[in-house]
Symmetry: D2
Subunit: 313 residues, 4 copies
């Protein structure tokens, strides 16, 4: 359970309050506003606020005085045009703010995307909760051999059990020692009044990277889509991909026309290299082409054939 009953109450109180606004408003997104969308064993993504909608992209592209255009179909057409031609600035005119709870090693990948605003929970100032990530058994991938930065088959039997046990035990023990060094329990009680307790900014260094942290993360739609194109991708590590997937669903609710054009022109398409495009042209002309004389490496050839839905050319 990623949130406590007290947090649930706070969220419900916030959701109960409504106001009248002249701003662009998206009912489908209002529906889930502030609600935690669960990710991994203790994580979540919550939409805290948003600015703009599909029409706001059009409105900005036209630098208009009123709304974008009159008709939804015209808006969708322009959005497709903008997406196809990489006119990114109109998409920057929408903004969204998330509250995310995530393991520290995921946070470390995430933060490399610099064009966003971040405010993280401070372990210098506050004490972290006893919450850590342990992969579900079906996620315990072995080291991949071909792709040095991926996972292969799922571990099984005793090896899997041992990994789970080590992760759990080390995480629990690290937190026990964290409390001991702080001289304070998670609930605030002092352990030994004769001791001072180590500074929080030091004690935290004993916690492993699977501990959960939290942050507010605010980003414009263009940069969010860029993030999603990299992190909702098959090459991304599973533990960040599930966050990206949850956010992709949010995008679909928020700006359906942008979502549509994004999946059409970015996620669903393919980028061909100069040599790859040449191979396609020759194939279409009925020429036989082999990897050896294609100008592509074996790996590139394999990837191209996969993209084209061919067995091995």
């Amino acid at each position: 359970m990623p949130i406590t009953p007290e947090q649930r109450d706070e969220i419900d109180r916030l959701r109960a309050v409504t106001a009248t606004t002249r701003r662009a408003t998206v009912p489908a997104l209002e529906e889930i506003l502030y609600q935690p969308l669960e990710v991994l064993d203790h994580g979540f993504v919550r939409v805290i606020d948003y600015m703009g909608d599909d029409a706001a992209v059009v409105q900005a592209a036209r630098v208009s005085y009123g709304k974008g255009t009159k008709k939804v179909s015209e808006d969708a057409g322009l959005i497709k045009y903008l997406m196809r031609h990489r006119h990114s600035t109109p998409f920057e005119m929408c903004e969204i703010k998330f509250h995310v709870k995530l393991p520290i090693f995921v946070a470390r990948q995430w933060i490399r995307h610099r064009t966003a605003n971040v405010n993280e929970y401070s372990a210098r100032y506050s004490i972290l909760d006893r919450e850590f990530y342990v992969p579900a058994p079906e996620q315990l991938g072995a080291q991949a051999v071909v792709n040095r930065q991926g996972r292969g088959d799922v571990l099984e039997g005793e090896e899997a059990a041992a990994v789970m046990r080590l992760l759990r035990e080390d995480s629990e023990r690290a937190y026990d020692h964290y409390e001991e060094m702080l001289n304070q329990r998670e609930d605030g009680t002092v352990i030994d009044p004769s001791r001072q307790g180590l500074a929080r900014e030091l004690a935290r260094m004993n916690l492993p990277l699977n501990y959960y942290t939290q942050w507010y993360w605010k980003v414009d739609l263009h940069n969010l889509l860029h993030f999603l194109s990299l992190r909702a991708d098959a090459h991304a590590q599973y533990e960040i991909r599930v966050y990206a997937d949850a956010m992709l669903d949010v995008v679909k609710r928020w700006v359906p026309a942008v979502y549509e054009s994004f999946t059409e022109y970015r996620m669903g398409g393919a980028h061909l290299s100069r040599a790859g495009l040449d191979v396609v042209k020759r194939l279409l002309a009925g020429e036989p082409v082999t990897q050896e004389e294609s100008g592509l490496s074996k790996r590139e050839w394999r990837e191209l054939m996969q993209q084209l839905g061919r067995s091995e050319g």
Copy 2:
């Protein structure tokens, strides 16, 4: 008059539509939403959208599940603390979007602030309006002598009249020729059907820098305040300062507690150098100090004495 009756109607239609939202909402800002706040002879600033309020700064600083804190006074106290200690990230959690109409030479200064999203009206794609800036007589400053990048006394008599005449005539003529090269009037009528008309992306180069352009400009509160601290300052050129002043009023409506702490700790204060601080300490200790042995240049000494409200020390 910065907007046409048609534009006025579009704005009124947009203002008439309201919706219900769970988001943080600021009634004082809703009041002026979409309204053009007039600046210079044909320019304006309009708030198109906003995200967050004073409480959102606190909410982000605490990485909270609900609102920031219960009490307004606690929020204000934390905001002061954040401002004083340069904790900038919580202020980045509020965002605002403006539609601005401004002379091109002002746009060129403005755009140097890179941490914002901009979508400008395209003179490659569309034809610009016949609208240009001419300074009011009391703004016709002569070149300053001491400060090489500022204005001195106001020009008077025939010299002032000549400047006004030249600016107006050259601006009008440039637009006449712009139309002639385009082979098209402002209202779209073709001038000479036997001619083709120069491409818009080329014809525009004949227009002078006092012509008006427009853009959507979106920025987070932290970067907006940084912009205002530089541009609502006495060293800024008058023509950009009036835009900054209009936006400062917007900030006051939007996030009054942030505005309060901003004027207290940034705009209203003073930064002393190491040597300047040393002078203050010695003066407070009752020592006589002269510029010569202060370690300050004459100019720095003069500025320090002004800041301290002293004639000449």
Copy 3:
């Protein structure tokens, strides 16, 4: 001639000085260091400084203690891999600094790329030179009809002559009046001692957008390549494309392996949409496909057929 004899001398003096360094050094780039590469009628691009080379990309990718790898071929292979998989951070580890002289309307397009450092010549502080851009006759494109932001056929005869005349005359007159308002000639002589002269920050607003400005522009290699992919493209306006072309030549000298992979995977390839990829698959499978049932618009269909080198499918 884009530079004066005095400027030529300054450059020669700078070029004559050499030093010994332990830094990565690129002889082919040193050859042209500080030299103006002429662009348009009065513009240029000069390389002022650079950091890194091909090996520095590899060195950063490996977070290595020494150089990247031992062999040039291995480096090139890794660079290709990084480019193909959009690993952008190693390319950010090279940096280059240019001095550019360019028409103001070009500068206004250029500056939209925000991830660079810019220091522009200040017309608040200094007086601009009497230098403006007039297109060569073969660049006087008419407004394109299909593509609203491009050029069509070249203007001819009297229409072309009239455009040239208007541009020249208005530019000359604007500068005459600029001097008159400043009460000062380009060479510094005062025109009428009984007048004060308008402030520079105001007088400049009379100059049209084809006047030249200058700036120092510093950017990392990743962001430079992104800039070039947009601005060395056929959709870019000619007047900025020629700058991009000049800089592309610089990249070729500086980091030849990066240049190679950039032209292979970015400039020379093609991005297919989901529907476009589907068309290719069906064609390869020997199915007949028409635009109508392809899911592509007429324009997208036309573009796809062009990319595939087919007449009309």
Copy 4:
């Protein structure tokens, strides 16, 4: 010892190679190029490359064809002027690249500064070394009471000994289990050939935040100074401050005039709030002022009195 003999050799080989360049070169920085400057128990900062020097700031500020100015004293004067008036863009024209080895919890603070280029060692791709940070005994601060995010007195006796023991033991055990999960020793030997070994991207999550990571970090001088003004400050955590201090020494070698003006106008000065400035004015006028009627909180009053070198006003 932060580096191995093999790494020492790689560095020495790199240092032995010199080249001739026309670029701005700084002998005092060349002296330490590539050398690890030791920080904490296993960390370091190494300068890998740099662009520009003091004169390059001036050159950019003047948008000059040659060098900045002729005289060093004029350069220093202009640099002071730029620093005092917050003209930041000329300082952005110098760039520096570091290789840094640092504990993960320090890396997490550091990375919040977004205006830099970073390439970190990948624990998805490679296996981390058995190297972790344990504070020196004199750094084992107790939790501060007044300042919730700082350290108070140093722990002593048995409490200190216990902390050291826990940190060491947990770090060692975490690495033992990391190897066990990977089914591989630090030196690459397989532990049990019948097992597959967990993926690196998963196994790393067992390591605590005091483990060392490494990255290449490249930043312009303006943003470096901003980083240093926050992180070489007394409010920064000791473990990041020592890195900032090492880099401040590098700045002194690299751009001595910039360093001088930075310490004069940024590090060594004081920022007074509006109310604080008012107190100073009244004190200088000989008025008695008390905290109660000063408009300052107790804490602000105390800080102001400290800045002014007064006991308690």
